[in-house]
């Protein structure tokens, strides 16, 4: 067992749970930044420094795009229905789901290791021996997938759907590393491009949602620049 790797995997899972379950947008974005920013360090062996740097920068940029979009988005109207955000079942339940996903993924990784070219693991009674690098990476990935499926495909607003999609894809990429080994550098860069694209699309959607809240008829602009033409006495957030 590599304790640092386990800690990193737990940080990814905790970030995912916070991102999915937080009701406050800024808290959710902090969780997202942690989940996306720490995930590149989850692997054994670690990728090349340049590839890892690209993944970290890509993750940070994706999270920053969402933060910028949320920052300039107008607040929800004081009256009228406000779409609820965050998980409907609460963070304790999401955390328990993640724990269940960890158990399943570690068992799965153990089974895969037994079928691998090195044959069955030698010490099957050592519980800590189950926490191989592949197992913890797969566990962090599966936990992310499990908690992100509902917000990604049944999210009630643009921010929730985007965060769910980012966590889901991050989980899929981690699970792929856990069960099939580390991918090549170009495939990792492909993952960065995908996360960035979802970040851009999410920022765009959040901007569009903000414009809908304002009810401006003249059209939409890119979210990152959407606040440029706001009057200086815009309603305080």
């Amino acid at each position: 067992m590599n304790p640092i790797l386990v800690g990193v995997a737990l940080a990814v899972t905790a970030g995912s749970v916070i991102a999915i379950s937080a009701r406050d947008a800024r808290t959710a974005l902090v969780g997202l930044a942690v989940a996306l920013g720490v995930a590149p360090f989850l692997g054994d062996p670690l990728p090349q420094v340049t590839t890892m740097a690209a993944r970290v920068v890509g993750a940070a940029l994706a999270a920053y795009l969402l933060r910028a979009a949320v920052a300039v988005a107008p607040p929800a109207p004081a009256r009228g229905p406000r779409p609820p955000s965050g998980s409907r079942i609460g963070w304790p339940t999401e955390a328990l789901l993640s724990a269940a996903a960890w158990i399943v993924a570690i068992s799965l990784a153990r089974g895969l290791a037994d079928l691998g070219p090195n044959g069955p693991a030698s010490d099957s009674d050592d519980l800590l021996g189950y926490l191989t690098p592949a197992a913890v990476v797969a566990a962090a990935g599966l936990a992310s997938i499990i908690v992100a499926i509902v917000p990604a495909f049944a999210g009630r607003n643009a921010l929730g759907t985007t965060i769910g999609s980012l966590i889901l894809i991050q989980g899929v990429l981690l699970f792929r590393i856990g069960v099939a080994g580390p991918p090549g550098d170009l495939e990792q860069l492909g993952g960065v491009v995908l996360l960035l694209a979802i970040g851009v699309a999410g920022a765009w959607l959040i901007g569009a949602e903000g414009r809908r809240t304002l009810g401006r008829p003249e059209g939409l602009e890119m979210a990152a620049t959407a606040g440029a033409d706001e009057p200086p006495h815009a309603p305080p957030r």
């Binding site: 590839t51 895969l112 290791a113 079928l115 691998g116 070219p117 997938i145 990604a152 495909f153 999210g155 607003n157 643009a158 759907t161 999609s165 889901l168 894809i169 899929v172 990429l173 699970f175 792929r176 069960v179 099939a180 080994g181 580390p182 991918p183 090549g184 550098d185 170009l186 495939e187 860069l189 492909g190 993952g191 491009v193 995908l194 960035l196 694209a197 979802i198 851009v200 699309a201 765009w204 959607l205 569009a208 949602e209 414009r211 809908r212 009810g215 401006r216 008829p217 059209g219 939409l220 602009e221 890119m222 620049t225």
Partner: protein
């Protein structure tokens, strides 16, 4: 090297175009120049062009050249039509990005890279054009979320399938030295086939995942359709087909029940898509349901094992997309010219605009096909291989629904003129006159732009003819049945990693 050059032009060009979308002229100028350069570079792709990049090999091929040239040409012409019609500056940017990542995804042998890249391009193509949604800003976020979900779902499913394929229990590793296959592996291969096919169903918008396709097509200008539901979806299907061919079909496992499920879904898309296209009255739904029907035929390539089916599937996917790009171009220009989208309100449209009539005629020939055309033969082969016997004949007949859908549109074009068609302005070319003051100043510097402004719609119709012609050309030639993917260039997924039109 040529593929990398194409990517190096398309990606920055697309990003710059998207960022400058609020400055129409600058966006179109940069985007159209980039698209033009992409056509030139795509035409220079050669099979011997291989470049190692970040642990993988980027390689060209004759098939990739055909696909990339048609894709880039379509991107350029749709950008040109949008510029002439004064709309759609939010489409060209994501289209170019989609072209760049699509070419990169198709040129590597590892399907994992292809799926990630193509999903990234599709995400942008699905969401960025929502600023042009009909119905105002209130409809934009909902449409964006509705379009984002299937794209993300399809990408996630396929990346997981690739992970399974390369894992210790996947066929690339788990098949014994003598080729013996464990029953559990056979079961998991069947599930993987269904999973990837489900992803293709979702991504292409086949029945039962067709709702988002119809919503997207009816809510946005038709120029937004080919980047997402046309070329991008075709590339996704090609990568999927290559992965299934190498990872599953090459093992020789029967998978009869699973392939039967695929046949049922494909048949439903062909039959119901054709019927829906006939029953609907507006031209956007004619486009949407013809795409659904084409997706059904493409799914048949996943239903029957063997190289004949794979080759026919490749030919059909590319030809269908190229032809339906022509239909999208016709829909775009027709709706913009006559300000209506109902067939009953379009009586006499071809008499007012013969160029549009020619465009739809070319689309009709490409969609229905003639014996000897690659698309026609590919469709017949796919149906015959997956559905032998009389049922196959019935399904094949249903697959000719475009003859009815497009044929009656053509007939209405020479019918009595409806009021919207009669009242439409700037339909015919203006070679003389004082439109927008273009005859006031004889200087070419002012004359040419003024003439282009005055003739925007006829020029857009001419561009639509070109798109339809390219579609017909691809339908005639296809990708070439000798194209064989699956050359392994990836070092991380083992021998037989999936490729599509890789070297």
């Amino acid at each position: 090297m040529s593929v990398l050059l194409l990517v190096a032009i398309a990606l920055p060009g697309g990003v710059a175009t998207a960022l400058l979308a609020h400055r129409r002229r600058a966006a179109f100028a940069i985007g159209l120049l980039a698209a033009l350069a992409c056509i030139v570079v795509a035409a220079s792709i050669r099979a011997e062009d291989t470049v190692p990049l970040a642990g993988s090999i980027i390689g060209g091929s004759d098939a990739l050249r055909t696909l990339a040239v048609a894709w880039a040409f379509s991107t350029f012409l749709f950008g040109l039509m949008d510029a002439l019609l004064g709309d759609g500056q939010s489409v060209l940017g994501p289209s170019l990005v989609g072209l760049g990542v699509g070419a990169l995804g198709l040129s590597v042998a590892d399907a994992g890279i292809g799926f990630a890249m193509l999903t990234a391009g599709a995400v942008l193509a699905a969401v960025l054009p929502i600023v042009m949604v009909r119905g105002g800003p209130s409809a934009a976020p909902g449409l964006g979320i509705l379009s984002l979900r299937p794209v993300v779902a399809a990408g996630a499913i396929t990346i997981l399938a690739v992970a399974w394929g390369a894992s210790a229990v996947g066929p690339l590793v788990a098949i014994g030295p003598l080729g013996e296959i464990d029953p559990a592996l056979e079961t998991s291969m069947g599930l993987a086939l269904l999973a990837v096919t489900a992803a293709v169903v979702i991504r292409l918008g086949a029945i039962p995942a067709h709702v988002w396709t119809a919503r997207f097509t009816e809510a946005l200008p038709a120029s937004a359709v080919p980047p997402l539901l046309g070329w991008g979806a075709a590339a996704f299907a090609l990568v999927s087909l290559g992965w299934v061919d190498v990872t599953i079909t090459s093992t020789g496992v029967d998978l009869g029940p699973q392939r039967a499920i695929v046949v049922v879904v494909a048949t439903a898309s062909i039959v119901l898509g054709g019927l829906a296209g006939i029953l609907r009255d507006d031209i956007e739904h004619a486009l949407a349901y013809s795409i659904v029907q084409d997706a059904g035929v493409a799914l048949l390539a996943f239903a029957s094992p063997g190289s004949a089916s794979t080759s026919a599937g490749r030919d059909w996917i590319v030809a269908a997309v190229a032809v339906k790009s022509g239909l999208a171009a016709w829909v775009l220009v027709t709706r913009s010219t006559f300000r209506t989208h109902r067939r009953l309100d379009l009586g006499g449209w071809a008499r007012r605009s013969p160029l549009l009539g020619l465009a739809l005629l070319l689309v009709l020939i490409g969609a229905v096909g003639l014996p000897g055309m690659a698309a026609f033969d590919a469709r017949a082969d796919l149906v015959r291989l997956a559905l032998p016997g009389p049922i196959g004949v019935l399904v094949l007949v249903t697959a000719f629904a475009p003859l009815v859908v497009l044929g009656r549109l053509l007939v209405s074009g020479v019918d009595a003129m409806a009021a919207p068609v009669r009242e439409a302005t700037n339909v015919a070319p203006r070679l003389r006159g004082r439109a927008d003051g273009w005859a006031d100043d004889p200087s070419p510097v002012r004359l040419v732009p003024a003439a282009i402004r005055a003739n925007g719609r006829p020029l857009a119709a001419a561009a639509a003819v070109l798109v339809a012609f390219v579609g017909l050309a691809v339908a005639v030639s296809g990708l070439g049945s000798t194209v064989v993917g699956g050359a392994s260039g990836g070092d991380q997924t083992g021998p037989g990693a999936a490729g599509v039109v890789a070297p």
